[in-house]
């Protein structure tokens, strides 16, 4: 038989639609339990793990938090966080980003408690993680002073899809050519509502404000459960 007629079928569907719906389901399920999910994204070495250590130390057991930490290889980050909080390492074996299935698997391995905060430390990469909804309520992007203030313009999707930006390693500002003013200006041109925090995880500078913001985000989430 030969092909005799061509027939075009309109579909018009987001290729990632199914995964997005799956993420939305998990987000609302965790939200109803009062768990705020925070997706931490940045380049490698911007200080995601250090920020989580500083956050855990600051709260000092007063808030129930857990961490899913993604890496291409090793469980070094999980080892660093284990003295402070329940943590599960997600190893991607080469993949450059986390996906919702990995998050679900990690979540199932965590001790089953009602966490107030679940942090997902993504793979260090400002590109691919921007396209993957991990069921987070808030996405937070870190930019360290050592990596340069030109990152927002170079990786617009990551900044467009984030709700907060953390400028980390502020103790190094006197030694590096990094303008806090211009990084904030650039980022807000891409995402006007971006909340910004300047922190140094080693000294604890700015951690208080960051933690208060997290608490206010969770209060909003819990309040929305009663609407």
């Amino acid at each position: 038989m030969t092909l005799i007629e061509e027939n075009t079928i309109a579909i018009n569907r987001d290729v990632q639609g199914e995964r997005k719906r799956e993420a939305a389901k998990l987000r609302s399920k965790m939200g109803r339990r009062g768990t705020l999910i925070v997706n931490l994204v940045s380049s490698p070495g911007s200080g995601k793990t250090s920020l989580l250590e500083a956050t855990a130390k600051h709260w000092n057991g007063t808030h129930r938090m857990a961490v899913l930490v993604g890496d291409i290889a090793t469980d070094r980050d999980a080892q660093r966080l284990a003295p402070w909080v329940p943590v599960e390492q997600l190893t991607t074996g080469g993949a450059c980003h986390l996906e919702i299935e990995l998050v679900k698997r990690g979540l199932a391995k965590l001790p089953d408690e009602d966490y107030e905060y679940l942090f997902i430390e993504n793979i260090g990469n400002l590109v691919c993680p921007a396209s993957h909804d991990l069921a987070e309520h808030v996405r937070v992007v870190l930019v360290s002073t050592t990596e340069g203030d030109d990152k927002p313009g170079k990786y617009p999707k990551m900044f467009r899809t984030s709700q907060a930006m953390i400028i980390s390693k502020t103790d190094l500002l006197p030694y590096v050519p990094f303008s806090v003013v211009s990084v904030i200006e650039d980022a807000r041109l891409i995402q006007g509502d971006l909340s910004v925090f300047e922190v140094c995880s080693l000294t604890g500078h700015g951690i208080d404000g960051w933690c208060r913001w997290l608490e206010s985000q969770r209060e909003k989430l819990v309040a929305s459960n009663f609407v």
Binding site: L3, I4, N7, T8, I9, A10, N12, V15, Q16, G153
Partner: protein, 127 residues
């Protein structure tokens, strides 16, 4: 390099449409990759080329449309093209803008090569 994951997902969805519509052969798959889709159109094409080798899609042509990034202003309701990723309303200079297209990879349509006995009417498949 998550273009491979994406193309794999795309092919799964095309196969499902084929099953649902009793299509045996697809001549063209048309997708749209916007500027804020987070993937590179060239890498999508390369991933597609590699993934369809020795499959039923080996001779299926992938067409990649590249639409503009469009947004709407919440304050003055103006629709405009976002240039250089500056999310600023050109009318009232508001930052309160929402992307309305160009931030996704969309499967637009597929063209089926049909046999005479299997002709089916074209229709829109809803999500």
């Amino acid at each position: 390099m998550h273009e491979t994951t994406l193309v794999r997902e795309l092919l799964v969805q095309v196969k499902q449409v084929m099953v649902d519509n009793s299509i045996e052969r697809v001549t063209t798959i048309r997708i749209e990759v916007g500027p804020l889709a987070g993937v590179d159109p060239l890498l999508v094409e390369q991933a597609y080329f590699l993934l369809v080798q020795r499959t039923e899609f080996e001779r299926t042509h992938l067409m990649v449309d590249q639409p503009a990034l469009m947004a709407v202003c919440h304050d003055c309701q103006r629709q405009f093209e976002v240039v250089d990723f500056k999310f600023l309303c050109p009318g009232c200079l508001s930052h309160s803008v929402q992307v309305i297209s160009g931030d996704q990879v969309r499967l637009l349509d597929i063209t089926a090569g049909c046999h005479e006995s299997e002709l089916i009417p074209s229709g829109v498949i809803k999500e």
